[in-house]
Structures are given as C-alpha cells and as structure tokens.
Amino acid sequence: MISRRSFCKKSLLFAGGLAIPLSCLELFDPKRLLAEKDQKGPRWVFLVDTRKCVGCGFCVKGCKVENEVPYDANVTRTWVERYVVTTDGKTHIDSPKGARDGFPNKGIDIGHGKLEEIKDDDIDKAFFVPKLCNQCDNPPCVQVCPVGATYQTADGVVLIDRSWCIGCGYCIMGCPYGVRFFHPVFHVAEKCNFCYHRITKGMQTACVDSCAFGARRVGNLRDPEDPVTKVIMTERVNVLKEEYGTKPQVFYLGLSKEVK
C-alpha cells in the first residue's frame, strides 16, 4: 500500500521529470529557430491611393472571379465605398453590391433598395475608398479562433484553413473592419488573403492587376527598394481604425476623416 507521503513525493518527482523534456520544446522551439536563421522573408503590405480610385469596381469583379466567391452573392473579399459630403456637413456613404458593378446610380443606396438623391450643388466633396483585409500585425481574428483554423503566416498574411474552420463566426465578430463572411459554398469563414497563391509566385493580386488607375499596389515592407515600401516610408500615409490596436498593414494615401 502506497503511503500518502510517498505518493506526494513520487508525484512531485514525476512532474519534475516531465518538466525537463517539456522545457526542451521551449528551448528548441522550431519556429523561433527558423525565424532566427532567416529574417529575410517578405512582409506583404498593401498601398491604396484613394485619390486615384474612380469607383469602377473592376477590382471587385476581378477578385470575385479569381477567388471563386460566387459572383451574385452579396459578400465580397474587397469592395469600394463612395463618400459624398454635402454642404450641411453630412456624410453619405454607400457601396451597392460592394461596387461590383461600380456605382450605376447617382443616388446613394440607403438600404431597402431605396436611393437618396443628392443635388450636385449640395456636394462639398466626394471620393472613393477601396477596402480589403488589413492583414493586421496583431490580428484579432486569429486570436479568437477557437480551433486555430485561421492563422498568420511568417510573411504577415492571415489565412484560413477551410478544412478546419468550424464556422462559429467568432472571427467575423472580432474583425473591426467587417472583411470576413461565411463562404456561401464552403460554409466556412472567408476573407481577402492578398491573393496569397499569386503573390507568393511573384505575381500581383487580382485586384491590383484589374485596377486600370494604379490605385492599388501590393509590396514587401522588408525590402527597402520596393516602390510600395518607399512610398510608405517617405510619404504621409494613414491606416484604418488604428484605435483597435490591430496594427493594420493596408496603408492609405489621401484618407479623409469621414472614412469609416
């Protein structure tokens, strides 16, 4: 019969013995070793020049086709917002169908299929703002995923494992930018991944390729010679919703205070 004293002793010994091999995992963390060896990998970032965007919506079309998001579904990985600021100080915003077909109506879409007409004379300023996933450095969506189905790669892009996502929607709730949605076919979380399958092969993203005005550019922040990096480092750029502490990596030129 084992006595209480010897049971306690043996348990402590057992726990201590377990701690040694477990601490090796910390000492020889393969991820960290790899990171220490190779710091030269890219950090993908995005640059949007809102002054060049005309709201044609080709980027949205290109994205939907490239990434197999059903064309007529009312969800999209990237979209364009239209801002109209009137003389009374009000800001009118819309993005009909994510601007997949551009902005066919002059009136502002206010939901229920209704349009709000605004007279040309009442407009102080108007502009377009393309939106996409910010591939945050501190991504809240990755933090809240209960099964680790969404994760951040070493080059900064946040990806989703479609074979592992349980579809709880916590990441959708956790994203302050509203970029996530449920894929209508796969029934798992879905979002923009900077066309990861393209950029890792040296190509541009589908939206960058579709933009005829050069409003969208993708680049590598770790390469000082990259033209995108040069703009980010030398010009006055801004990011969206900095107050959430997500450290977004989509940089904007010509951002206005009205932008949500």
């Binding site: 229920h112 809240p140 933090q143 809240v144 680790g148 929607g169 509203g178 449920f182 959430y244």
Partner: protein
Amino acid sequence: MVHGEAWTIKEFFTYPNEYIYWTIQIVMYPFMTGLVAGAFVLSSLYHVFGVKQLKGIARFSLVFSFALLPVAMLPLLMHLQQPLRGIEVMMTPHFTSAIAAFGIVFSTYGMIVASELWFVFRKHFVETALALKSIEGRSALQQGQYLLFSVLTLGAWDISHEALEADERAVKKLAAAGIPVACFLHGYAGFIFGSVKANALWMTPLMPVIFICSAVVSGIALCILTYILTMEIRKQLSRRRRLAHPELPSMEELKSAEAHVVAMTSRYLLMFMVAAITLELLDLIFRGYTAVKSWDILRSVIYERDFVNIFVVQYGLGNLVPFVLFLIPGLTIRRAVVGTVLVLLGVFMMRWNVVIGGQAFSSSFSGFMHYVLPLWPDNMETLKEGLVGALIVAGVPFCIFYVLNKVMPVFKETH
C-alpha cells in the same frame, strides 16, 4: 443565399459583408448556461452554507442543473456552420480564444455535478438495486433496471451510517468547489462577448459579472417555477393516490411545504436581481457619461431602436414588475408563478438585447441592421437559427429532467 441574409435588414451604410451572424441560438446559449449555473448555485446554498429552508429545492435544482447541462452545448452546435467539426474545440483548442476554454470548463463542471449527484443519490441506488435483487424471477424490465442501478452504485454498496456521513461531507466539498466553477462557466460566456473589441456594445469588463448575476437570477427563477409546477402535479397525483395509500402526505402538508420553499427562495432571487440591475445600470450610465466615439450610434440603438426591448420589456416587465410582485407581503404561489415567468422573460431579453442589440449597428457606426426572427422554417438554416430551433433547445432540458427523475427521484426522501 449568403448566411445571415435571410434574416438581416440593412439600413443606411453597413459594410457589404456585415450581417447578423449571431442569432437566436447565441441568445439561447448564455440563457441556458445561465440557468445551469443559477440552478447549481441555488442547490449549493443548502449544501455549503447550510440554508436549511432550501432543503426541499436543493436536490431538485441539482438534478435540474444536470439536465440543463447538455443543452448548454446544443445551441452552439445548431449555430455552427460545420457542426460535425464542433468537437475540434475540445480536441484542438486554440487557447488564445475564449471559446477554446469551453471544453475544459464544461467538462470540469459536468464532472463535479455528476459526482455530487452520485453522492447524493448513492443510497437510493443501493437500496433500489438491493430491492430489485431480492425479487425472485425478475421480468426483463426489472432485470434491466437491476443492472442499471447496480452499475450506478459503482461497486460501493456500503450504506452504513458512517459511509453516508462520508457521502455528505463529499457533497459539501463538491458543492463548494462547484460554485466557482459554475460562476466561471457562465462568467466566461460573458467574457466571450465582453472581450470582442470590435463590438462597441459588448466590450466591457463588467460583462462577465453582469452575466453571472443575471444567470443566478434566471436559474433561481426557473427552479422556483419548475418546483411549483411539479408540486402542483404531485398534489393532483397524491389526491388520487391517497385514496389507496392514506400514509402519503396530505394536500395541506404539500401545500405549506411549497409556499415556504417558494417564499424563502424568492428572497435570494431578489438579492441577486438587485446586484444584476445595479451593474447593468452602471454600465449604461458609464457609457453615456464617457461618451466615446461609439456612443452616438449606441445611443440611437439603446434609446431609439431598441427602446421597447430594453426599457419596456427587459427593465420594466422583466425587472421592475416582478420586483414589486415579490416585495408585496404575503407572497402567494400564483404571484410567484407570474413573477418568475416575468423574471425569466427579463433575463432572456437581456441576453437578446446584448447579442442581437450588439449587432444592430454596423461597425462603420453609420448604419443599422435589423434582425427578423424566422418564425416558420423554409430551409435547414432557418430551422436551426429560427424560432423552431430555439423552442427545441428550450424543450430538451425538460425531457432530460423527466428521464433523470426516473433514475434519481428528486422528491423522494433520502438521507
């Protein structure tokens, strides 16, 4: 059709991908876990703190808490887009997520309640098994029952006075350990919401505490209500049975026991209700006073769009009216029934106003979303995340309780 499009109406500017993704099942989830935690805390008041007056309802609420437990998981499963992968939350938890703790907290709590129940009902298991054993030529049903109860004893057949006293000590310890775990189980449901920094209405450190307080309120209310209903049914049954067995308790005895327990339990209900309302109002006042960026849209949701849901149904009907009903001296059973039903409505509406209200505005702060509850299902999605799905979740615990009561009779006097 995109998930969420069927029940979301958008107004003004919302981001294209925004829909009401968390629907009635996510309202049911904290409501059900709240009932679990509340029922357990009520039973612990007797087992740990020795509140003798609660003896009648303590065992009842413990079994009921166990019946509610599997149902706390059901709404989550019905809400998942990939329900078959739901088990991965337990198998491959990602611990930076609040939901990942679910498996651990849930199973710890389940084990505590199960072992406490075993200690409480061990004597009954042994006695029943022995009684069945002594029957010569058992029928197939009796043989099945005999096997079931023998297995339930787990080989511990000793029901001497010392052994039963040891059981009682174990129950006390388990009940004491269960209180923090029950609070954690539910407080953590509050944490799931309170930690979403992207949602202006949810994000507050008070959320877990508010959830716990309202959980205890709803748990006690449901226990009182179910207790009254079962006692009424027993009264009707005993009226018939007493003709054959005059030794059974009379109608008057049952009635006075019932009134006494209800009056006593409602005192505790009131105490927790005061705590819950205080915290909720503190949260509301603090938001208005600090008036950060999100306050403009929150104000229009709280004071305009959801005014009826929040101030009329939740605070008025669900809190103020039952508060007055319970405080008027000379509490009658009928008044207690009305009061507890209203309290349950109030807590349900609180969950609703948090979950649905939190999604009533766009994270652009420039538009609104309105949730239309699918009443009649026209496909699997509206079945699971509509009224029918919610009613299934609400009905299942009573079915489980019915079965559990066959094995662990809550009204039979044990030791």
